[in-house]
Assembly symmetry: C2
Homo-oligomer: 121 residues x 2
């Protein structure tokens, strides 16, 4: 599957959240802190189309854009990449790492324990 840059990813997020949308609608929904012009958003949309991660249908003279890949699949691919690259593909060291780095509160721990308990059955 194609790689997606940071900026492109934000456009995908918008469309994973709501689709189909026109270019203008996507531009409206992109987080304002990026300060993008509509032109930039349209460039992103074209590139994502070219990469095959977006699909479009024509609505009059405009396009309606929608994701062509599931967020799930993309996220799976990217987390797999990180895991393979940094932790030899093993999740435990990642959890240990984040825990040490104080990214895990007691509530988080309880939550994950509950999740694991559910998984075991």
């Amino acid at each position: 599957m194609e790689r997606i840059g940071d900026a492109e990813y934000q456009v995908m997020e918008v469309l994973w959240d709501e689709a189909p949308l026109t270019a203008a609608e996507v531009a409206d929904r992109v987080p304002a802190d990026r300060g993008w012009s509509i032109r930039t958003v349209k460039t992103m949309l074209s590139r994502l189309l070219a990469k095959g991660v977006l699909a479009h249908e024509e609505e009059g003279r405009r396009y309606l854009y929608r994701p062509a890949i599931a967020r799930e699949d993309y996220v799976a691919q990217e987390s797999g990449r990180l895991l393979d690259r940094m932790f030899g593909g093993r999740l435990t060291p990642l959890v240990a790492h984040l825990a040490e780095r104080d990214r895990l509160s007691d509530a988080d721990i309880a939550e994950i324990e509950a999740l694991l308990k559910a998984l075991k059955s």
Copy 2:
């Protein structure tokens, strides 16, 4: 902290594993499947120096390279990035996600449970 590309990262891995090393030694230790020329490795080393993630000391007319940032720190940064970008910074959804994707065996689950138990005390 600076971003590091995939190829650059492999060079860092070599030096995190063993340092200091000369350029030639790094080239020897880089996984052969990349098929890099020594020139390529030297370019990587220069760029990593420029980015401040490597340090060098002179040994005669050569450099000895060593990491200027801890692997721990870099890994923390990158896993944080992924987590923020894909899971709103929360680890539980990542664990849930990977579990669903069959990246978690029963043994993994047991291991993480043990880890969490240790963390709670």
